[in-house]
Symmetry: none
Subunit: 216 residues, 2 copies
DNA sequence: CTTCCTCTAGGCACTTCTACCCATACGAAT
DNA sequence: ATTCGTATGGGTAGAAGTGCCTAGAGGAAG
Protein backbone atom coordinates (compact mmCIF):
# COMPACT_ATOMS: atom_id res chain seq x y z
CA UNK A 1 0.00 0.00 0.00
CA UNK A 2 1.91 2.98 -1.22
CA UNK A 3 -1.04 5.25 -1.83
CA UNK A 4 -2.22 7.97 0.45
CA UNK A 5 -4.83 6.94 2.87
CA UNK A 6 -7.47 9.05 4.53
CA UNK A 7 -8.55 8.84 8.15
CA UNK A 8 -11.62 10.56 9.54
CA UNK A 9 -11.55 11.52 13.19
CA UNK A 10 -14.71 12.62 14.96
CA UNK A 11 -14.91 14.07 18.45
CA UNK A 12 -16.80 17.02 19.80
CA UNK A 13 -13.79 18.29 21.76
CA UNK A 14 -11.44 20.36 19.60
CA UNK A 15 -8.55 19.57 21.90
CA UNK A 16 -8.96 15.83 21.40
CA UNK A 17 -9.09 16.25 17.65
CA UNK A 18 -5.98 18.36 17.75
CA UNK A 19 -4.11 15.75 19.72
CA UNK A 20 -5.26 12.90 17.51
CA UNK A 21 -4.37 14.77 14.36
CA UNK A 22 -0.87 15.46 15.56
CA UNK A 23 -0.31 11.82 16.43
CA UNK A 24 -1.83 10.41 13.30
CA UNK A 25 -0.01 12.78 11.01
CA UNK A 26 3.29 11.31 12.15
CA UNK A 27 2.26 8.32 10.04
CA UNK A 28 3.43 8.42 6.41
CA UNK A 29 1.07 9.28 3.56
CA UNK A 30 -1.89 9.90 5.77
CA UNK A 31 -4.56 12.56 5.39
CA UNK A 32 -6.65 13.45 8.43
CA UNK A 33 -10.19 14.83 8.14
CA UNK A 34 -11.91 16.19 11.23
CA UNK A 35 -15.56 16.11 12.20
CA UNK A 36 -17.08 17.65 15.31
CA UNK A 37 -20.26 15.59 15.32
CA UNK A 38 -21.68 12.36 13.95
CA UNK A 39 -23.49 13.85 11.00
CA UNK A 40 -20.37 15.52 9.75
CA UNK A 41 -18.40 12.31 10.24
CA UNK A 42 -20.91 10.37 8.16
CA UNK A 43 -20.79 13.01 5.43
CA UNK A 44 -17.00 12.88 5.32
CA UNK A 45 -17.07 9.08 5.17
CA UNK A 46 -19.58 9.13 2.32
CA UNK A 47 -17.71 11.73 0.30
CA UNK A 48 -14.09 10.84 0.90
CA UNK A 49 -14.35 7.06 1.50
CA UNK A 50 -11.55 6.97 4.05
CA UNK A 51 -9.85 3.74 5.04
CA UNK A 52 -10.46 4.35 8.73
CA UNK A 53 -12.82 6.35 10.89
CA UNK A 54 -12.02 7.03 14.55
CA UNK A 55 -15.29 7.88 16.24
CA UNK A 56 -16.09 9.13 19.69
CA UNK A 57 -19.28 7.52 20.96
CA UNK A 58 -20.82 10.55 22.63
CA UNK A 59 -21.21 13.24 20.00
CA UNK A 60 -23.91 15.75 19.11
CA UNK A 61 -26.48 15.08 16.36
CA UNK A 62 -25.39 11.47 15.74
CA UNK A 63 -23.57 9.21 18.19
CA UNK A 64 -20.72 6.98 17.14
CA UNK A 65 -23.17 4.09 17.26
CA UNK A 66 -25.50 5.83 14.84
CA UNK A 67 -22.66 6.48 12.43
CA UNK A 68 -21.35 2.92 12.63
CA UNK A 69 -24.83 1.57 12.04
CA UNK A 70 -25.32 3.69 8.95
CA UNK A 71 -21.89 2.73 7.66
CA UNK A 72 -22.90 -0.88 8.09
CA UNK A 73 -26.30 -0.54 6.47
CA UNK A 74 -24.96 1.35 3.48
CA UNK A 75 -22.01 -0.98 3.11
CA UNK A 76 -19.50 1.86 3.14
CA UNK A 77 -15.95 0.52 2.80
CA UNK A 78 -14.52 2.00 5.96
CA UNK A 79 -13.16 0.37 9.09
CA UNK A 80 -14.66 1.96 12.18
CA UNK A 81 -12.70 2.42 15.40
CA UNK A 82 -14.39 3.60 18.57
CA UNK A 83 -12.34 5.87 20.79
CA UNK A 84 -14.21 6.29 24.01
CA UNK A 85 -14.12 6.41 27.77
CA UNK A 86 -16.94 3.89 28.14
CA UNK A 87 -15.62 0.70 29.56
CA UNK A 88 -18.99 -0.79 30.37
CA UNK A 89 -19.58 -4.24 29.01
CA UNK A 90 -22.92 -3.38 27.44
CA UNK A 91 -21.46 -0.49 25.50
CA UNK A 92 -18.65 -2.67 24.25
CA UNK A 93 -20.97 -5.51 23.27
CA UNK A 94 -23.19 -3.11 21.39
CA UNK A 95 -20.10 -1.83 19.60
CA UNK A 96 -19.06 -5.32 18.55
CA UNK A 97 -22.56 -5.98 17.25
CA UNK A 98 -22.29 -2.86 15.15
CA UNK A 99 -19.24 -4.33 13.47
CA UNK A 100 -16.51 -2.01 14.67
CA UNK A 101 -12.95 -3.16 14.04
CA UNK A 102 -11.29 -1.37 16.94
CA UNK A 103 -12.24 -0.25 20.42
CA UNK A 104 -9.75 1.96 22.25
CA UNK A 105 -10.25 3.46 25.69
CA UNK A 106 -9.29 7.09 26.07
CA UNK A 107 -7.85 6.41 29.48
CA UNK A 108 -5.17 4.19 28.00
CA UNK A 109 -1.84 5.09 26.48
CA UNK A 110 -1.95 7.28 23.42
CA UNK A 111 0.32 4.84 21.65
CA UNK A 112 -2.61 2.45 21.69
CA UNK A 113 -4.32 4.56 19.09
CA UNK A 114 -1.40 4.11 16.71
CA UNK A 115 -1.21 0.40 17.43
CA UNK A 116 -4.91 0.16 16.76
CA UNK A 117 -4.64 2.04 13.48
CA UNK A 118 -1.82 -0.24 12.38
CA UNK A 119 -3.70 -3.41 13.29
CA UNK A 120 -6.99 -2.38 11.70
CA UNK A 121 -5.20 -1.18 8.57
CA UNK A 122 -3.89 -4.71 8.14
CA UNK A 123 -7.38 -6.12 8.47
CA UNK A 124 -7.07 -7.23 12.07
CA UNK A 125 -9.14 -6.29 15.07
CA UNK A 126 -7.73 -4.27 17.94
CA UNK A 127 -9.25 -3.96 21.38
CA UNK A 128 -7.89 -2.22 24.42
CA UNK A 129 -6.73 -5.01 26.69
CA UNK A 130 -8.81 -3.59 29.52
CA UNK A 131 -11.90 -4.76 27.69
CA UNK A 132 -10.60 -8.01 26.23
CA UNK A 133 -12.20 -9.44 29.34
CA UNK A 134 -15.62 -8.59 27.96
CA UNK A 135 -14.87 -10.30 24.71
CA UNK A 136 -13.88 -13.53 26.37
CA UNK A 137 -17.02 -13.51 28.45
CA UNK A 138 -19.14 -12.50 25.52
CA UNK A 139 -18.07 -15.48 23.50
CA UNK A 140 -17.90 -18.14 26.12
CA UNK A 141 -21.17 -16.97 27.67
CA UNK A 142 -19.63 -16.92 31.11
CA UNK A 143 -22.16 -14.43 32.40
CA UNK A 144 -24.55 -17.29 33.17
CA UNK A 145 -22.60 -20.52 33.24
CA UNK A 146 -24.90 -22.22 35.71
CA UNK A 147 -27.92 -23.25 33.70
CA UNK A 148 -25.93 -23.95 30.54
CA UNK A 149 -23.62 -26.34 32.31
CA UNK A 150 -26.47 -28.17 33.95
CA UNK A 151 -28.05 -28.81 30.58
CA UNK A 152 -24.87 -29.94 28.88
CA UNK A 153 -23.97 -32.31 31.65
CA UNK A 154 -27.18 -34.24 31.04
CA UNK A 155 -25.97 -35.41 27.65
CA UNK A 156 -24.63 -38.89 27.08
CA UNK A 157 -21.34 -39.41 25.18
CA UNK A 158 -23.09 -40.40 21.96
CA UNK A 159 -25.33 -37.35 22.14
CA UNK A 160 -22.34 -35.18 22.79
CA UNK A 161 -20.52 -36.36 19.66
CA UNK A 162 -23.62 -35.84 17.58
CA UNK A 163 -23.98 -32.33 19.00
CA UNK A 164 -20.36 -31.58 18.16
CA UNK A 165 -20.95 -32.59 14.57
CA UNK A 166 -24.18 -30.61 14.39
CA UNK A 167 -22.10 -27.59 15.35
CA UNK A 168 -19.94 -28.14 12.27
CA UNK A 169 -23.01 -27.81 10.05
CA UNK A 170 -23.03 -31.42 9.01
CA UNK A 171 -26.36 -32.89 7.91
CA UNK A 172 -27.82 -35.87 9.72
CA UNK A 173 -26.82 -38.06 6.81
CA UNK A 174 -23.21 -36.91 6.98
CA UNK A 175 -23.15 -37.49 10.72
CA UNK A 176 -24.61 -40.95 10.25
CA UNK A 177 -22.00 -41.81 7.63
CA UNK A 178 -19.08 -40.57 9.71
CA UNK A 179 -20.21 -42.42 12.82
CA UNK A 180 -21.27 -45.51 10.86
CA UNK A 181 -24.75 -45.50 12.32
CA UNK A 182 -28.23 -45.13 10.85
CA UNK A 183 -29.61 -41.70 10.11
CA UNK A 184 -32.54 -42.65 12.29
CA UNK A 185 -30.24 -43.04 15.24
CA UNK A 186 -28.91 -39.58 14.60
CA UNK A 187 -32.49 -38.34 14.51
CA UNK A 188 -33.17 -39.90 17.85
CA UNK A 189 -30.04 -38.47 19.42
CA UNK A 190 -31.01 -35.03 18.21
CA UNK A 191 -34.49 -35.42 19.64
CA UNK A 192 -33.14 -36.54 22.99
CA UNK A 193 -30.74 -33.60 23.05
CA UNK A 194 -33.60 -31.22 22.30
CA UNK A 195 -35.67 -32.79 25.05
CA UNK A 196 -32.91 -32.49 27.61
CA UNK A 197 -32.04 -28.94 26.69
CA UNK A 198 -35.60 -27.79 26.19
CA UNK A 199 -35.04 -26.73 22.61
CA UNK A 200 -37.87 -26.23 20.12
CA UNK A 201 -37.96 -25.28 16.49
CA UNK A 202 -36.16 -26.00 13.27
CA UNK A 203 -32.75 -24.53 13.97
CA UNK A 204 -32.76 -24.30 17.72
CA UNK A 205 -30.40 -27.23 18.10
CA UNK A 206 -27.94 -25.93 15.54
CA UNK A 207 -28.03 -22.49 17.10
CA UNK A 208 -27.32 -23.99 20.48
CA UNK A 209 -24.56 -26.22 19.13
CA UNK A 210 -22.79 -23.32 17.47
CA UNK A 211 -23.08 -21.01 20.43
CA UNK A 212 -21.81 -23.62 22.83
CA UNK A 213 -19.35 -25.61 20.78
CA UNK A 214 -16.47 -24.21 22.80
CA UNK A 215 -18.00 -25.94 25.83
CA UNK A 216 -18.41 -29.28 24.13
CA UNK B 1 -7.30 -7.84 49.70
CA UNK B 2 -4.82 -6.94 52.34
CA UNK B 3 -3.12 -10.28 52.59
CA UNK B 4 0.12 -11.25 50.99
CA UNK B 5 -0.26 -12.89 47.66
CA UNK B 6 2.08 -15.26 45.94
CA UNK B 7 2.94 -15.27 42.26
CA UNK B 8 4.79 -18.07 40.50
CA UNK B 9 6.86 -17.15 37.48
CA UNK B 10 8.23 -19.83 35.20
CA UNK B 11 10.69 -19.29 32.38
CA UNK B 12 13.79 -21.18 31.39
CA UNK B 13 15.78 -17.97 30.87
CA UNK B 14 17.22 -16.63 34.14
CA UNK B 15 17.37 -13.13 32.70
CA UNK B 16 13.64 -13.11 32.00
CA UNK B 17 12.87 -14.32 35.51
CA UNK B 18 15.12 -11.64 36.96
CA UNK B 19 13.33 -8.93 34.99
CA UNK B 20 9.91 -10.20 35.86
CA UNK B 21 10.75 -10.50 39.54
CA UNK B 22 12.00 -6.94 39.70
CA UNK B 23 8.85 -5.62 38.08
CA UNK B 24 6.44 -7.69 40.07
CA UNK B 25 8.12 -6.97 43.38
CA UNK B 26 7.28 -3.30 42.96
CA UNK B 27 3.73 -4.40 43.74
CA UNK B 28 2.76 -4.31 47.42
CA UNK B 29 2.58 -7.47 49.52
CA UNK B 30 3.66 -9.76 46.77
CA UNK B 31 5.89 -12.82 47.02
CA UNK B 32 7.53 -14.11 43.87
CA UNK B 33 8.50 -17.76 43.42
CA UNK B 34 10.64 -18.73 40.46
CA UNK B 35 10.64 -21.94 38.42
CA UNK B 36 12.95 -22.75 35.56
CA UNK B 37 10.81 -25.46 34.00
CA UNK B 38 7.24 -26.70 33.88
CA UNK B 39 7.60 -29.46 36.44
CA UNK B 40 9.01 -27.09 39.01
CA UNK B 41 6.26 -24.59 38.27
CA UNK B 42 3.60 -27.24 38.85
CA UNK B 43 5.25 -28.29 42.09
CA UNK B 44 5.34 -24.69 43.33
CA UNK B 45 1.69 -24.22 42.40
CA UNK B 46 0.67 -27.40 44.24
CA UNK B 47 2.64 -26.57 47.37
CA UNK B 48 2.23 -22.82 47.70
CA UNK B 49 -1.17 -22.34 46.04
CA UNK B 50 -0.31 -18.95 44.54
CA UNK B 51 -2.94 -16.56 43.26
CA UNK B 52 -1.27 -16.23 39.88
CA UNK B 53 1.15 -18.17 37.72
CA UNK B 54 2.98 -16.52 34.85
CA UNK B 55 4.11 -19.30 32.54
CA UNK B 56 6.30 -19.30 29.51
CA UNK B 57 5.00 -21.73 26.91
CA UNK B 58 8.29 -23.22 25.76
CA UNK B 59 9.98 -24.72 28.79
CA UNK B 60 11.90 -27.93 29.48
CA UNK B 61 10.23 -31.00 31.00
CA UNK B 62 6.68 -29.57 30.87
CA UNK B 63 5.44 -26.83 28.58
CA UNK B 64 3.19 -24.06 29.78
CA UNK B 65 0.34 -25.91 28.11
CA UNK B 66 1.06 -29.05 30.08
CA UNK B 67 1.12 -27.13 33.33
CA UNK B 68 -2.12 -25.28 32.53
CA UNK B 69 -3.82 -28.54 31.63
CA UNK B 70 -2.81 -30.18 34.89
CA UNK B 71 -3.89 -27.12 36.84
CA UNK B 72 -7.24 -27.40 35.11
CA UNK B 73 -7.62 -31.12 35.65
CA UNK B 74 -6.69 -30.96 39.30
CA UNK B 75 -8.80 -27.89 39.91
CA UNK B 76 -5.93 -25.95 41.47
CA UNK B 77 -7.09 -22.47 42.52
CA UNK B 78 -4.61 -20.47 40.48
CA UNK B 79 -5.09 -18.06 37.60
CA UNK B 80 -2.73 -18.89 34.77
CA UNK B 81 -1.17 -16.22 32.58
CA UNK B 82 0.82 -17.14 29.50
CA UNK B 83 3.81 -14.93 28.76
CA UNK B 84 5.10 -15.87 25.36
CA UNK B 85 6.39 -14.78 22.03
CA UNK B 86 3.96 -16.96 20.13
CA UNK B 87 1.48 -14.80 18.36
CA UNK B 88 0.13 -17.56 16.15
CA UNK B 89 -3.60 -17.95 16.19
CA UNK B 90 -3.53 -21.69 16.83
CA UNK B 91 -1.30 -21.30 19.86
CA UNK B 92 -3.58 -18.66 21.25
CA UNK B 93 -6.72 -20.67 20.59
CA UNK B 94 -5.20 -23.67 22.30
CA UNK B 95 -4.34 -21.44 25.25
CA UNK B 96 -7.91 -20.19 25.52
CA UNK B 97 -9.18 -23.76 25.43
CA UNK B 98 -6.87 -24.58 28.31
CA UNK B 99 -8.59 -21.92 30.37
CA UNK B 100 -5.83 -19.37 30.81
CA UNK B 101 -6.90 -15.98 32.17
CA UNK B 102 -4.21 -13.87 30.55
CA UNK B 103 -2.10 -13.99 27.41
CA UNK B 104 0.72 -11.47 27.14
CA UNK B 105 3.19 -11.22 24.29
CA UNK B 106 6.82 -10.76 25.26
CA UNK B 107 7.31 -8.34 22.43
CA UNK B 108 4.91 -5.87 23.96
CA UNK B 109 5.48 -3.26 26.61
CA UNK B 110 6.61 -4.55 29.96
CA UNK B 111 3.89 -2.51 31.61
CA UNK B 112 1.46 -4.90 29.99
CA UNK B 113 2.54 -7.57 32.42
CA UNK B 114 1.56 -5.38 35.36
CA UNK B 115 -1.73 -4.45 33.72
CA UNK B 116 -2.39 -8.11 33.12
CA UNK B 117 -1.62 -9.05 36.71
CA UNK B 118 -3.95 -6.32 37.94
CA UNK B 119 -6.77 -7.37 35.63
CA UNK B 120 -6.51 -11.08 36.35
CA UNK B 121 -6.23 -10.42 40.09
CA UNK B 122 -9.63 -8.76 39.89
CA UNK B 123 -11.07 -11.77 38.13
CA UNK B 124 -10.99 -10.32 34.65
CA UNK B 125 -9.30 -11.61 31.54
CA UNK B 126 -6.39 -9.78 29.93
CA UNK B 127 -5.13 -10.30 26.42
CA UNK B 128 -2.44 -8.43 24.57
CA UNK B 129 -4.29 -6.30 22.06
CA UNK B 130 -2.22 -7.75 19.26
CA UNK B 131 -4.09 -10.99 19.70
CA UNK B 132 -7.52 -9.65 20.53
CA UNK B 133 -7.94 -10.01 16.79
CA UNK B 134 -7.76 -13.78 17.14
CA UNK B 135 -10.40 -13.79 19.79
CA UNK B 136 -12.84 -11.84 17.68
CA UNK B 137 -12.24 -14.15 14.77
CA UNK B 138 -12.33 -17.22 16.98
CA UNK B 139 -15.83 -16.38 17.96
CA UNK B 140 -17.12 -15.24 14.64
CA UNK B 141 -15.46 -18.23 12.95
CA UNK B 142 -13.42 -16.31 10.41
CA UNK B 143 -10.51 -18.19 9.01
CA UNK B 144 -10.33 -17.02 5.41
CA UNK B 145 -11.70 -13.49 4.97
CA UNK B 146 -9.99 -12.73 1.67
CA UNK B 147 -11.87 -14.65 -0.98
CA UNK B 148 -15.13 -14.34 0.90
CA UNK B 149 -15.15 -10.62 0.53
CA UNK B 150 -15.18 -10.82 -3.24
CA UNK B 151 -18.36 -12.82 -3.18
CA UNK B 152 -20.08 -10.62 -0.62
CA UNK B 153 -19.79 -7.53 -2.77
CA UNK B 154 -21.93 -9.18 -5.44
CA UNK B 155 -24.97 -9.19 -3.18
CA UNK B 156 -27.81 -6.71 -3.56
CA UNK B 157 -29.12 -4.83 -0.48
CA UNK B 158 -32.18 -7.07 -0.18
CA UNK B 159 -30.05 -10.17 -0.39
CA UNK B 160 -27.73 -8.74 2.20
CA UNK B 161 -30.50 -8.17 4.72
CA UNK B 162 -31.83 -11.66 4.17
CA UNK B 163 -28.33 -13.06 4.70
CA UNK B 164 -27.99 -11.08 7.90
CA UNK B 165 -31.19 -12.62 9.21
CA UNK B 166 -30.18 -16.09 8.11
CA UNK B 167 -27.10 -15.62 10.27
CA UNK B 168 -29.34 -15.08 13.30
CA UNK B 169 -30.90 -18.53 12.76
CA UNK B 170 -34.26 -17.18 11.72
CA UNK B 171 -36.42 -19.40 9.54
CA UNK B 172 -37.54 -18.24 6.12
CA UNK B 173 -41.01 -17.66 7.52
CA UNK B 174 -39.67 -15.46 10.32
CA UNK B 175 -37.59 -13.50 7.84
CA UNK B 176 -40.59 -13.06 5.56
CA UNK B 177 -42.70 -11.82 8.45
CA UNK B 178 -40.11 -9.35 9.68
CA UNK B 179 -39.49 -7.92 6.24
CA UNK B 180 -43.18 -8.02 5.29
CA UNK B 181 -42.55 -10.00 2.12
CA UNK B 182 -43.62 -13.43 0.91
CA UNK B 183 -41.75 -16.49 2.02
CA UNK B 184 -41.25 -17.26 -1.66
CA UNK B 185 -39.35 -14.04 -2.07
CA UNK B 186 -37.09 -15.05 0.77
CA UNK B 187 -36.58 -18.39 -0.98
CA UNK B 188 -35.56 -16.60 -4.12
CA UNK B 189 -33.14 -14.32 -2.34
CA UNK B 190 -31.53 -17.31 -0.68
CA UNK B 191 -31.20 -19.07 -4.02
CA UNK B 192 -29.66 -16.03 -5.63
CA UNK B 193 -27.22 -15.68 -2.76
CA UNK B 194 -26.25 -19.33 -3.13
CA UNK B 195 -25.77 -18.86 -6.85
CA UNK B 196 -23.58 -15.82 -6.42
CA UNK B 197 -21.49 -17.37 -3.67
CA UNK B 198 -21.32 -20.82 -5.24
CA UNK B 199 -22.89 -22.50 -2.24
CA UNK B 200 -24.41 -25.96 -2.42
CA UNK B 201 -26.15 -28.13 0.12
CA UNK B 202 -28.64 -27.85 2.89
CA UNK B 203 -26.79 -25.78 5.40
CA UNK B 204 -24.09 -24.18 3.29
CA UNK B 205 -25.81 -20.83 3.31
CA UNK B 206 -26.34 -20.80 7.04
CA UNK B 207 -22.75 -21.86 7.63
CA UNK B 208 -21.55 -19.07 5.41
CA UNK B 209 -23.84 -16.53 7.04
CA UNK B 210 -22.66 -17.39 10.52
CA UNK B 211 -18.99 -17.46 9.62
CA UNK B 212 -19.21 -14.10 7.92
CA UNK B 213 -21.81 -12.27 9.95
CA UNK B 214 -19.28 -9.76 11.17
CA UNK B 215 -18.62 -8.75 7.55
CA UNK B 216 -22.28 -8.26 6.69
C1' DC C 1 -37.96 2.55 -26.27
C1' DT C 2 -35.46 -1.27 -25.23
C1' DT C 3 -32.54 -3.71 -22.26
C1' DC C 4 -30.98 -5.04 -17.92
C1' DC C 5 -31.22 -5.50 -12.96
C1' DT C 6 -33.76 -5.83 -8.69
C1' DC C 7 -37.53 -7.03 -5.99
C1' DT C 8 -41.47 -9.20 -5.74
C1' DA C 9 -44.34 -13.69 -5.99
C1' DG C 10 -45.60 -18.24 -7.26
C1' DG C 11 -45.31 -23.48 -8.86
C1' DC C 12 -43.32 -28.01 -8.38
C1' DA C 13 -40.36 -31.81 -7.15
C1' DC C 14 -37.05 -33.03 -3.93
C1' DT C 15 -34.27 -33.32 0.36
C1' DT C 16 -33.69 -32.43 5.14
C1' DC C 17 -35.16 -31.92 9.63
C1' DT C 18 -38.78 -32.10 13.41
C1' DA C 19 -42.03 -34.39 16.49
C1' DC C 20 -44.24 -37.84 17.65
C1' DC C 21 -44.60 -42.95 18.12
C1' DC C 22 -42.29 -47.86 18.42
C1' DA C 23 -38.78 -51.99 19.19
C1' DT C 24 -34.32 -54.58 20.22
C1' DA C 25 -29.86 -55.22 22.46
C1' DC C 26 -26.46 -54.52 25.87
C1' DG C 27 -24.61 -53.49 30.35
C1' DA C 28 -25.01 -51.71 35.05
C1' DA C 29 -27.39 -51.36 39.22
C1' DT C 30 -30.80 -53.10 42.39
C1' DA D 1 -33.86 -61.45 37.59
C1' DT D 2 -35.78 -57.09 36.93
C1' DT D 3 -35.20 -52.45 36.08
C1' DC D 4 -33.00 -48.65 34.10
C1' DG D 5 -30.26 -46.06 30.99
C1' DT D 6 -27.97 -46.03 26.65
C1' DA D 7 -27.34 -46.96 21.91
C1' DT D 8 -29.20 -48.66 18.11
C1' DG D 9 -32.84 -49.14 14.48
C1' DG D 10 -37.53 -48.10 12.32
C1' DG D 11 -42.40 -45.64 10.95
C1' DT D 12 -45.21 -41.68 9.89
C1' DA D 13 -46.59 -37.10 9.44
C1' DG D 14 -45.59 -32.57 8.77
C1' DA D 15 -42.67 -28.45 8.69
C1' DA D 16 -38.76 -26.26 6.56
C1' DG D 17 -35.41 -25.61 3.04
C1' DT D 18 -33.32 -26.52 -1.78
C1' DG D 19 -33.21 -26.33 -6.86
C1' DC D 20 -35.09 -24.89 -10.84
C1' DC D 21 -38.40 -22.96 -13.30
C1' DT D 22 -41.81 -18.66 -14.79
C1' DA D 23 -43.31 -13.76 -14.48
C1' DG D 24 -44.78 -8.96 -13.51
C1' DA D 25 -43.56 -4.12 -11.61
C1' DG D 26 -40.26 -0.60 -11.16
C1' DG D 27 -36.01 1.76 -12.00
C1' DA D 28 -31.58 2.72 -14.29
C1' DA D 29 -28.83 2.80 -18.34
C1' DG D 30 -28.18 2.42 -23.06
Amino acid sequence: MNERRTIVIADDHPLVRKGLRQMIETLPETIVLEAENGEEALRLIREHHPALALLDIEMPKMTGFDVAKRVNDEGLPVSVIFLTMFKEEQVFNKAMDTGVKGYVLKENAITEVLQCIAAVSEGRYYLSPTISDFLVRRNSRLSSPAQDNSGLSLLTPAERSVLKMVATMKTNQQIADELNISIKTVHNHRNHICDKLGLRGTHALMKFAIENNSQL
